[in-house]
C-alpha cells in the first residue's frame, strides 16, 4: 500500500486532461438523460414515426472525416510540422462548421417534408430529435471555438509553445463529440 503510491505518482494523467474526462462523463449523463426520456416517451401513445433526413448521412461522413483531420493535426503538432498542423486544424474547424450547417439543412428538410420540429402542433418525436441534435451541434460548435482559440495561438508569433496538452485535450473532445454523434445517429435510426 505504501510503496505503490510513490511509483504511481509520475504516471498520473495531466489534471487538465482528467478534468476533460470527468467533464465528458457529465456530458454523457446529459445525453443519457435525454435519450432515455426519448425511450420513455416513445413507448407512450401519439408518437410520430418518420425517417431521418438523408443529409444526416453526409454530416456523419463530414464529422468522421473531421476526426481524422483532427487526429492528423495532433500528430503533425507532435512532429513539430507547424505548417501542416495549422492547415489541418483549419480544415478540422471548417468541417465542424460544415457539420453544423448540414444538420440545419436536415432540420429544414424535415420541416419542408411535413415533420414540424417545434411550435404548436409539433409531435414530441420530432421535437426530441431537434433538441437532442441541436444540443449536440452546440457541443460541436463549442469544439470549433476551442479550435479557433488554439488556431489563434498557432498563428501568434509571440508565443512559441510546443506543449501538447492543450491540443491533445481539444483532440480528445473532438473525437468525443464525433462518437457522440455516431451514437445519436445509430440511436435515432434504431430506436
Amino acid at each position: 500500500m505504501m510503496a505503490t503510491v510513490v511509483s504511481q505518482e509520475r504516471k498520473r494523467l495531466h489534471p487538465h486532461k482528467f478534468l476533460l474526462w470527468v467533464g465528458i462523463g457529465s456530458i454523457i449523463m446529459m445525453f443519457a438523460g435525454l435519450t432515455s426520456a426519448y425511450i420513455v416517451r416513445r413507448s407512450a401513445a401519439n408518437w410520430l414515426e418518420f425517417s431521418l433526413p438523408p443529409v444526416f448521412w453526409y454530416s456523419t461522413f463530414v464529422i468522421l472525416l473531421s476526426s481524422l483531420t483532427m487526429h492528423l493535426s495532433v500528430k503533425a503538432f507532435k512532429a513539430r510540422e507547424m505548417m501542416r498542423y495549422r492547415t489541418l486544424i483549419t480544415i478540422t474547424a471548417g468541417l465542424g462548421v460544415l457539420f453544423a450547417t448540414l444538420q440545419f439543412f436536415g432540420f429544414y428538410y424535415l420541416n419542408t417534408h411535413g415533420v414540424q420540429l417545434l411550435g404548436q402542433g409539433s409531435n414530441p418525436a420530432a421535437s426530441f430529435l431537434a433538441v437532442i441534435t441541436g444540443l449536440h451541434v452546440l457541443h460541436v460548435l463549442g469544439g470549433v471555438i476551442a479550435l479557433l482559440v488554439i488556431f489563434m495561438r498557432a498563428y501568434s508569433m509571440r508565443i512559441k509553445s510546443y506543449n501538447v496538452t492543450t491540443i491533445e485535450i481539444a483532440g480528445t473532445y473532438w473525437h468525443f463529440v464525433d462518437i457522440l454523434w455516431v451514437y445519436l445517429f445509430i440511436f435515432f435510426n434504431l430506436v
Binding site: 503510491v5 505518482e9 495531466h14 457529465s26 438523460g33 414530441p124 421535437s127
Partner: protein, 607 residues
C-alpha cells in the same frame, strides 16, 4: 510531481508564488484588492465567498420560512407592519396573501436546497478542505474554480431579482412540476418568475458542474506524496462522492430543464398534453407527459439529497474522531457505506413518485432499493456511536453540533424507513409527515454538519476563534428548537394534514392542530433569531475573535494543521508535507495523536 506540473503549466493562472516557492508568503507580489478578495483564484478565498453568499441566502430563506410560518401559526391574526415593509403583493390587510405564501414556500425550498446546502455547504468545504487536506497547493484548475463561484453568484443575483418581479417569483414548489412550471399562464409566478427561476437554476447547474469537476480531479490527481486514497480523511471521501453525484446527476436535471424551456417558449409538447386548465382553457398541446419531468427531476433530486448530506457526514466523522481523541471506528466501512449510498442514490428516485402515476410493480422495486439505504446509514450511525464510545470527549461547539447531527440523522432516518414503503406512502405522501422527515434528516442535520464544520475550521479560515459561549447558546437553542419545530409535524402528518396548504381553516379535522401550529411558528421565530446571534458571532470574530496562536490547536492529525496559521495562496510556504500514515492515529502507543506527516516508527503497533 503532478502538483507542481499544474502550477507550471497554468499560463494564465494566478499562481504567483511559483517563482518564489521557498520564500515567505507574506509578501505576495501581484495581489490587488480585486484579485485577492473578489476575482480570487485561491481556493480558501473562494470557499469563504461560497460560505458568505450561502449565509446571505440562509438568512433570506430562513426569513421566508418565518413569514409563511406566521401564516400557518396565526392564520387569523393581522400584521399591518408587514404590509408597510413588504408591500401589497405580499401582504394584504396584514395577512400573507395566498400567492405570496406559495412564492415563499417555493423560494424557501429552492434556496435552501440548492443555494445554501449545496453551494454553501459543499462549495465552502470542498473548496476549503480538499487542497488543504490532500496536500495540494490549489485546485486542479483554479480558474474554473473561480468561474464556479461567479456562476453561483450570477445565479444568486437572478434568483434574488425574481423576488422583486411584479408578478412575483415562481410559486409552483421547488420541484417545478409541469404544468405549473411549463405553462406561463398557469399562475402569476409561472411567467417571468419561472423564467428567472430557470435561468438562475441553469447558471447554478453550470456552477456546481465546474466545481464538481475540480473537486474530483483534485482529489484523484493532486494528492501529496504518500497520500494514498485509503489515507484520506473521511471529509475528503465524502466530498469526493458528493462531487461524483453532482457531476453525474446535475446534467440530467439540465436536460429536464432544457425540455421545459422548449415547452415554455417554443410550443413543444414534451410535458404538456391536451389538459384543461381553469382560466386558460384546453391546451393545444398533444402527447406530452408530465411524469417525464418528474423522472428527470428526481434523477437529480434524489442524489441531491445525498449531495447535501454526504459533506455533513464526512465532516462529522472527522470532528467526532478528533474530539473523541480516538480513531474513527471502521474507516473502511465508513468509506464503503459512503460508496453504497452514492450508488443507491441513483437507484431510488422514483420513491418520490409512488402516488403520481408509477406502475405499482416498479414501485415495489424502488421500495426494496430505498430500504436498502438503511444498511449503509445504519453502519455509519453505528460507527459514529462506537467512535464516541469511551472516548475522551471534548465538548467543543463543533463537537456538540456533530453529535447533534448524529441524533438528528437517527431521528429523521427512522421515518425514512416508513416513507420508503409505497403502501404507507399512499397515506403519508404530501403530508406534514414528509416535511418533518426531510427537514430533520436532510435540512437541519446538514445545517448541523455545516455549523460543526464552521465552528471546527473557523480558526483555519480566519486565524481566530469563534466565541464558545455564544456557540453553546446557539447549539442548545437550535437543537431543542429543531426538535420542537419538526417533531410535532409527524403527528399532524399522520393525521392527514397536507403540506403546502395556505390555510387549514376549512377543515374541521385539522382545527385541533391550531395550537400546535402556533407553537411551531413561535419556536421557529426563536430559532431563527438565534441564527442571527451566530451570524453576529461569525462576523465579529473575523476581526475581533481570540487569535489562534498555535498551528494545531485541536491536536489534529490532518494536513491542514501543518500549514501556517494564516496560509497564503499555495498553502505551504516550503515543500508540501509528505504523508506517512492515515488520518486517524489518535491514542496510539500511548501518544495522544500522531500527525499524518510523522514517519512510521518500526516499533509502532500496526493499525
Amino acid at each position: 510531481m503532478s502538483n507542481e506540473a499544474v502550477l507550471h503549466t497554468n499560463v494564465e493562472g494566478a499562481i504567483t508564488h511559483d517563482e518564489h516557492h521557498d520564500e515567505h508568503h507574506e509578501h505576495h507580489h501581484h495581489e490587488t484588492f480585486i484579485t485577492k478578495y473578489v476575482f480570487s483564484q485561491d481556493h480558501k478565498m473562494i470557499a469563504k465567498q461560497f460560505l458568505i453568499t450561502g449565509m446571505v441566502w440562509a438568512v433570506l430563506g430562513g426569513l421566508m420560512s418565518v413569514l409563511f410560518r406566521l401564516q400557518l401559526g396565526y392564520p387569523d391574526s393581522h400584521f399591518p407592519f408587514l404590509e408597510n415593509i413588504l408591500g401589497k403583493w405580499w401582504v394584504q390587510n396584514g395577512q400573507i396573501t395566498a400567492q405570496a405564501y406559495y412564492a415563499l414556500v417555493t423560494t424557501h425550498g429552492t434556496v435552501l436546497v440548492f443555494f445554501v446546502l449545496t453551494a454553501g455547504l459543499s462549495g465552502t468545504f470542498a473548496n476549503f478542505l480538499i487542497p488543504l487536506q490532500v496536500g495540494a497547493r490549489d485546485m486542479a484548475s483554479p480558474f474554473l474554480n473561480m468561474l464556479s463561484y461567479w456562476f453561483f453568484f450570477s445565479a444568486s443575483v437572478v434568483m434574488l431579482s425574481s423576488i422583486f418581479v411584479e408578478t412575483g417569483p415562481f410559486s409552483g414548489g421547488w420541484t417545478a412540476y409541469p404544468p405549473l412550471s411549463a405553462l406561463k399562464d398557469a399562475s402569476p409566478g409561472s411567467g417571468t418568475g419561472m423564467d428567472l427561476w430557470l435561468i438562475a437554476m441553469a447558471l447554478f447547474v453550470v456552477s456546481s458542474l465546474l466545481g464538481g469537476l475540480n473537486y474530483i480531479v483534485t482529489i484523484l490527481n493532486l494528492r501529496t506524496k504518500g497520500m494514498s486514497m485509503t489515507r484520506l480523511p473521511l471529509t475528503i471521501w465524502s466530498l469526493f462522492f458528493t462531487a461524483v453525484l453532482g457531476v453525474l446527476s446535475f446534467p440530467v436535471l439540465l436536460s429536464g430543464f432544457i425540455l421545459l424551456i422548449f415547452d415554455r417558449n417554443f410550443g413543444t409538447s414534451f410535458y404538456l398534453s391536451d389538459i384543461y386548465i381553469s382560466g386558460v382553457g384546453a391546451l393545444p398541446n398533444e402527447g406530452g407527459n408530465a411524469i417525464l419531468f418528474q423522472h428527470l427531476f428526481w434523477f437529480l433530486g434524489h442524489p441531491e439529497v445525498y449531495i447535501i448530506l454526504l459533506p455533513a457526514m464526512g465532516m462529522v466523522s472527522e470532528i467526532l474522531s478528533v474530539n473523541s481523541r480516538k480513531p474513527i471506528f471502521g474507516y473502511m466501512a465508513m468509506v464503503g457505506s459512503l460508496f453504497a449510498i452514492a450508488i443507491l442514490a441513483f437507484l431510488v428516485w422514483a420513491h418520490h413518485m409512488f402516488v403520481t402515476g408509477l406502475n405499482p410493480f416498479l414501485g415495489s422495486i424502488f421500495v426494496l432499493l430505498t430500504l436498502l439505504i438503511a444498511v449503509p446509514s445504519a453502519i455509519k450511525v453505528f460507527n459514529w456511536l462506537t467512535t464516541l464510545w469511551r472516548g475522551n470527549i471534548r465538548f467543543t461547539p463543533a463537537m456538540m453540533f456533530a453529535i447533534g447531527f448524529v441524533s438528528l440523522f437517527i431521528s429523521g432516518g427512522l421515518t425514512g424507513i416508513w416513507l420508503g414503503n409505497s403502501a404507507l406512502d399512499i397515506h403519508l405522501h404530501d403530508t406534514m409527515f414528509i416535511v418533518a422527515h426531510f427537514h430533520i434528516v436532510m435540512g437541519v442535520a446538514s445545517m448541523f454538519g455545516m455549523f460543526a464544520g464552521i465552528y471546527h475550521w473557523y480558526p483555519k479560515m480566519y486565524g481566530r476563534y469563534l466565541n464558545n459561549t455564544l456557540g453553546y447558546i446557539h447549539f442548545w437553542i437550535t437543537m431543542v428548537g429543531a426538535y420542537l419545530i419538526f417533531w410535532p409535524m409527524h403527528y399532524e402528518g399522520l393525521a392527514g394534514m397536507p403540506r403546502r396548504y395556505y390555510s387549514y381553516s376549512a377543515w374541521e379535522s385539522f382545527k385541533q392542530f391550531g395550537g400546535l401550529n402556533q407553537f411551531i411558528s413561535t419556536v421557529a421565530m426563536i430559532v431563527f433569531s438565534v441564527q442571527i446571534l451566530f451570524l453576529l458571532n461569525f462576523f465579529y470574530s473575523i476581526w475581533k475573535g481570540r487569535k489562534v496562536t498555535t498551528q494545531n490547536p485541536y491536536g489534529s492529525n490532518t494536513l491542514e494543521w501543518t500549514a501556517p496559521i494564516r496560509p497564503g495562496h499555495g498553502n505551504w510556504p516550503g515543500e508540501i508535507p509528505e504523508v506517512h500514515r492515515w488520518a486517524y492515529d489518535y491514542a496510539k502507543d500511548g501518544r495522544e495523536f500522531i500527525p499524518q506527516t510523522t514517519p512510521v516508527d518500526p516499533n509502532e503497533a500496526n493499525h
